[in-house]
Symmetry: C2
Subunit: 332 residues, 2 copies
């Protein structure tokens, strides 16, 4: 049997915590024997939830934590003061080597700050990027960086390109992943100061398969596997992706309800439409990994249900088995 992957799961973080989080843990251990989930949070509440399920009991453990970090709290203060919170307890398990990965649907700010402050960066990594998978016409691409640290330098972007390539190759199984830098035109001389400075560095980087600029309109078509950009732009891309998709789908659905004819048609296309939209729903792909840390941190959506939590836990296995941390250490 392959090695165990130990995942510290913040049972109290997220809109549907602890119910959906605990269910996600149960579903994950029922799916694979090589996962151990350590739930952190109010032990009484967690035990209450666990009662409803049957699962291999040696694969789920509870570490009690009395506090919860709310999404509205300033992250730095929250991390510092709430030592007995489910989030800090879980992160410390990774820090102390008692867990390989951390998963939470809680406060994004606290996860990003905690990742840097509590777990810490791999030596040599200048910045730990948040890198969600985004759906495309060809499958998924990795959007790196969407984190909280804006105003990046070119050396950061080069590291993001390398780290992103390693992740796509070894976790997602994309051979020789294509890397592109987000730009406002295809030509090398186009771009803002940061992109112009970064472009030649990426071009001369032998460890990655750099294909040049990628215009925003080419991202959904799946032109590249690793989409490199600084966090402000990455955040805009990620949020607009969700926004345009959601608005368009709502309008399409509303449009179909305007006549009897189209209402009947809507009933007939519904199953096919649902299938298509599922492929474009980012929660299908689990949470966003924060890379370059001494352990994997996965930030799941605040609205995560059991399914996304389960997917997020399962993606930790590949990360551990492929020893991505070590590959990043050597690769950057």
């Amino acid at each position: 049997m392959s090695e165990m992957t130990r995942v510290a799961l913040d049972a109290m973080g997220g809109d549907y915590a602890p119910k959906e989080i605990v269910k996600g843990a149960v579903d994950a251990v029922n799916a694979r024997k090589d996962i151990q989930v350590i739930l952190t949070g109010r032990e009484d509440l967690i035990r209450q939830e666990l009662k409803a399920y049957s699962y291999p009991e040696d694969q789920i453990e509870i570490v009690h934590a009395s506090e919860v970090i709310e999404t509205a709290e300033p992250p730095v203060t929250a991390i510092r003061r709430k030592k007995d919170s489910s989030l800090v307890r879980a992160m410390n398990l990774v820090k102390n080597g008692e867990a390989d990965a951390f998963v939470s649907a809680g406060s994004s700010g606290a996860i990003l700050v905690g990742g840097q402050v509590l777990i810490g960066r791999i030596k040599g990594v200048e910045r730990a990027p948040l890198a969600p998978l985004i759906p495309t016409a060809k499958g998924v691409s990795l959007l790196i960086d969407c984190g909280a640290n804006v105003d990046a330098r070119s050396s950061h972007l080069v590291q993001f390109a390398k780290i992103g390539s390693l992740y796509m190759e070894h976790v997602m199984g994309v051979k020789n992943p294509k890397v592109g830098i987000v730009n406002i035109g295809a030509e090398e001389e186009k771009g803002n100061a940061l992109v112009k400075e970064t472009f030649p560095l990426l071009k001369s980087c032998e460890d990655i398969h750099f294909v040049g600029s990628v215009e925003a309109r080419e991202i959904p078509a799946g032109k590249v596997d690793v989409v490199v950009c600084e966090a402000f732009v990455g955040n805009v891309i990620l949020k607009l992706y969700e926004g345009v998709g959601a608005t368009l789908i709502k309008e399409v659905k509303r449009g179909m309800m305007t006549s009897l004819r189209s209402k009947i048609g809507a009933l007939l296309v519904k199953p096919a439409l649902k299938e298509t939209l599922k492929a474009f729903d980012s929660s299908e792909y689990g949470g966003a990994p924060m890379l370059g840390l001494n352990g994997l941190v996965v930030k799941a959506h605040g609205s995560s249900t059991a399914k996304e939590i389960k997917t997020s836990i399962l993606q930790c296995v590949q990360f551990k088995q492929q020893d991505i941390g070590e590959k990043i250490r050597k690769g950057i």
Copy 2:
């Protein structure tokens, strides 16, 4: 009768030039009596096209130009060398006061450079932004700036906010338009260096209705009327808007063709779907105005057909009649 609006139209610019451009001019003058279109380009070709239509002949004029600027040419050199091109001739008509506005579906780079170099900025305007209308669930918003000049300063963004407000209020008829700055979170302390510096300036600006940060996901929902950002981010938003929309629609259509059931449904929803998608097609709203110049410049899509050209010409009327140039001069 109200005053004439004189539009210099680059008959040779665009994928479907001169055919669709000339047709657009004819449709525009057939729609309104207070428009005069001056077509620039190869006179023989233009006359050939015009032969097919009936229209009030005193409303269309031709100014011969023997050259054409191709989209692949470096803009600055092209503008300088091709003095007898349809684009330079048309811009010079605006510069010399013989036309109020310029419309072209030709080289974006040449239009942006020509606007600055040939027509020139209104005194006091630091940068002339390109500001397309983008479709939202509530109608349209103005995305300002999407031009070629990246790495903006905060004073530029404040001017964009003022100019955008004037355009939305007086050309689009939105009373007291809501202005937002593109940001990665709702709080004032969020953002990159540029946004943090600009935020308080916008907040203390009395001429506009500033509502704070707008996250990218809120743009398609129509949260604000004027979306302020620097050109790199604006370009990403504009292109991603088109990209996500196009990919999603393609996938939805493909999804509907997967079974007999959904194929029948697709036939029934088609008319309603078409109507909805039309509302989300940016070419419905004409070209993108480049604002802050001594005359209006409208950059239509390269793929413009007669319809977009006509819409672009008609939007010049409102601009002229409302004397937007003078309002910008006083407002900034």
